[in-house]
């Protein structure tokens, strides 16, 4: 067994006030659920209805995690849940701000599904030319038309997240995005899923749900994008599931640039079959408190999971990435690169777990978390973690925290480039490595545009 790595662990010594959430905090979400549930008009009798009820019952017992919970140590939920969030039960056409929608998000080549406050907007979506057999639609339609397929996955293991927010998402499951790529079909254009949120009268909570299925030998690329009106307070509580069949390739990118006053909690779960290839890239720019939980499980031999992320944390922001890669079978590989840029008093958290189960011999796994600290007030808590139960594996992991290199800054300045611009160029250079892993050129360029815009501020 080969295990190597360097870990720089900056534990936060500040005393975190770990408040036990009041029953009120929880009741508020339960009441909201009841409103939602009543609005479904009998739909709740279905298998899905039972699933929702079971989820809310489960939530009533678990409530929200506190900072005493190891996995939520740095991320206090109270600033989020004490807001009086309301689910947006019905969408009035007058609420559809077309100018805002057109100006938001990626506009390049793609099959596109657009949602506003959790509601599907068919008029704003573009699905022309979807190849025969491929299904790109909203989840509510898929539940009606592909009931068995959807239920098999969502009801099958959708609650395997040990995550109150994911449980709440399942309780509120109604709509979201659905992609099905049948055997050996290669999707030429990416699927762009745009989740937009705007709080009109009161803070809104949405529960978007994405289900991606790539059958054996299928290939596709998906970008989930989350954004909203700047300055507005809302909560996005998203869950995505991906099933990557034998020899299938799925690229699953998440770009989050929510309002700087919004909250974003997002979990994803991918299951990889034999020789499957799954690429997850989580890019976080927005939000006041952001939590990402990408999770990939290698279930068939020869699978490869690449789990990448980029987080740019600025003033009064907290971005917390908790990733898991689970090797359950032999001969799989995984590669993880998370890069963080920390500015002002921003706070970043990285916790990356690699599990290598007893049977997962010949696992080859590389994990690294690299942080660029641009301010003395910024903070990063990083913890790469290996849990290895097999003996013939190769795993490396490490975390570093660094600053911009003075020699590089001087070199740029010696060519006439001003100090601020030099720093920005080097920060960009640091971050762009993660974006360069995105294979679709248009999406890559879009992500670069967003990065540039954020670095300009």
């Amino acid at each position: 067994m080969e295990v190597s790595g360097t870990t720089i662990n900056f534990e936060n010594n500040a005393i975190t006030v770990s408040k036990k959430y009041t029953t009120e905090n929880i009741q508020q979400f339960v009441d909201a659920f009841n409103l939602f549930s009543n609005s479904l008009n009998g739909e709740s009798d279905s298998t899905l209805g039972a699933k929702r009820s079971a989820s809310i019952e489960h939530f009533k017992v678990t409530g929200f995690p506190t900072t005493k919970h190891e996995e939520w140590k740095y991320t206090n939920m109270l600033p989020i849940i004490r807001n009086d969030f309301h689910p947006h039960l019905t969408l009035d056409q007058r609420e559809v701000d077309e100018a805002f929608i057109r100006a938001s998000g990626y506009r390049g080549e793609a099959f596109r599904l657009v949602f506003l406050n959790g509601h599907f907007l068919p008029e704003q979506s573009s699905l022309e030319g979807v190849p025969e057999g491929v299904v790109v639609t909203n989840l509510a339609s898929a539940i009606r038309e592909k009931t068995d397929l959807v239920l098999e996955h969502i009801v099958g293991y959708g609650d395997s997240f040990e995550h109150s927010f994911a449980t709440l998402n399942t309780a509120h499951l109604r709509d979201g995005a659905f992609l099905y790529i049948p055997k050996n079909v290669k999707l030429q254009k990416p699927v762009h899923i745009l989740y937009l949120t705007t709080s009109t009268d009161q803070p809104v909570v949405t529960y978007p749900r994405t289900l991606l299925i790539a059958e054996g030998g299928a290939e596709g690329s998906v970008v989930e994008e989350f954004t909203g009106k700047s300055g507005e307070i809302y909560l996005t509580n998203a869950v995505a599931e991906a099933i990557v069949g034998e020899n299938a390739h799925l690229s699953h990118i998440k770009i989050q640039h929510e309002s700087r006053d919004a909250f974003h909690i997002g979990a994803s779960h991918a299951k990889l079959g034999r020789n499957a290839n799954y690429f997850n890239n989580t890019i976080s720019f927005g939000g006041k408190i952001v939590r990402n939980d990408p999770w990939a499980v290698l279930e068939g031999e020869g699978g490869h999971a690449a789990v990448d992320g980029l987080y740019l944390v600025g003033e009064d922001q907290l971005i917390d990435n908790h990733t898991s890669i689970d090797h359950t079978v032999p001969n799989c590989t995984s590669h993880e690169l998370y890069k963080g840029i920390l500015r002002d008093n921003g706070h970043g958290v990285f916790n990356g777990k690699i599990f290598v189960q007893k049977d997962a011999q010949k696992t080859d796994s590389v994990q690294s978390n690299v942080n660029l600290l641009l301010s003395d007030e910024a903070e990063i808590d990083t913890k790469p973690q290996l849990e290895i139960y097999a003996d013939d594996v190769k795993c490396t992991h490490g975390a570093t925290i660094g600053r911009l290199d003075d020699t590089s800054i001087f070199y740029l300045r010696a060519r006439g480039i001003g100090k601020a611009q030099a720093e920005q160029m080097l920060t960009y250079a640091f971050a762009v490595e993660v974006i360069e892993h995105i294979s679709d050129e248009n999406i890559r360029e879009y992500a670069i545009e967003l990065l540039d815009a954020r670095l300009d501020k």
């Binding site: 003075d406 020699t407 590089s408 001087f410 070199y411 740029l412 300045r413 010696a414 060519r415 006439g416 480039i417 001003g418 100090k419 611009q421 030099a422 160029m425 080097l426 960009y428 250079a429 640091f430 762009v432 490595e433």
Partner: protein, 260 residues
């Protein structure tokens, strides 16, 4: 008599508490090429870095006037914009920074300072094409991240390419010849000679007389122990090659220090 471009007087500089430059005096006039030679660790690169404005070096005494300006008062980027160019002995690798993007940013910063219009992508490309032809630099090199994974010679050529784009008034070449093959040496030297104008100047740091066959200096100085211990014409380089530095050190101990 031509105007001085650079006047260094009694320059002392420290790095991390150690005095490296111990009273440098040197005047370079317009149209002149000066060569500095000297043993390893004598302070040649330190002098170059101090002139370019590296903050790790603390000037403790003396002054540097550059075209009527107090050079030491200026930030590194201001010096560059005013026409000081340092070709680094060890060019820095900048992973993730595209070469073309970098040079366009540099050129436009310099042009803006000089009150010239900024170059757009097309103009810039034309200029690059012209300079790469003259210096025989493969264009692919420029589309890569700056210096990343470049061979030693490629890095040096890239420095000269940058110099050709920025057209400095004072070019300081710190061992640009080391690591270059014979053809590259000639190309680089040609490039430097082409840039020569009556109103600019060059300071060439080298260990080898060979470079000076191509870039013929008006003056040669020997820097040793943080001081210029001997100055002369181009024949001094030949003499040094033949006799080594001990010979000059010996002379300077006997008190025959010459300065320009």
């Amino acid at each position: 008599m031509s105007q001085p471009i650079l006047e260094i007087s009694n320059l002392h500089a420290h790095v991390e508490g150690n005095e490296i430059l111990k009273g440098i005096n040197l005047t370079i006039n317009q149209g002149e090429v000066h060569a500095i030679m000297g043993p390893n660790g004598s302070g040649k690169s330190t002098l170059a870095q101090v002139l370019a404005g590296h903050e790790a070096y603390e000037v403790t005494e003396g002054s540097v006037r550059y075209r009527g300006l107090d050079l030491l008062e200026l930030d590194p980027e201001e010096r560059a914009r005013e026409g000081v160019f340092l070709a680094f002995q060890y060019p820095v690798e900048l992973p993730g920074v595209n070469g073309m993007y970098f040079m366009k940013a540099a050129l436009n910063a310099v042009r803006k300072h000089r009150g010239l219009d900024e170059f757009d992508a097309a103009d810039f490309l034309t200029l690059v094409r012209e300079k790469t032809q003259v210096l025989d630099i493969p264009k692919e090199l420029l589309n890569r991240p700056v210096n990343e994974g470049f061979s030693g010679g490629e890095k040096k050529r890239n420095e000269i390419f940058q110099m050709a784009l920025l057209e400095p008034s004072l070019a300081i070449l710190d061992e640009t010849d080391s690591g270059l093959d014979i053809d590259a040496l000639r190309i680089v030297a040609d490039g430097v000679n082409k840039l020569k104008r009556p109103d600019n100047a060059a300071l060439v740091i080298t260990h080898y007389q060979r470079l000076l066959d191509y870039i013929v200096p008006d003056f040669v100085h020997v820097l040793s122990g943080g001081q210029i211990i001997k100055s002369g014409g181009k024949e001094l380089a030949l003499e040094l090659e033949e006799k080594g530095y001990d010979w000059v050190k010996e002379l300077s101990r006997e008190g025959t220090v010459e300065a320009v």
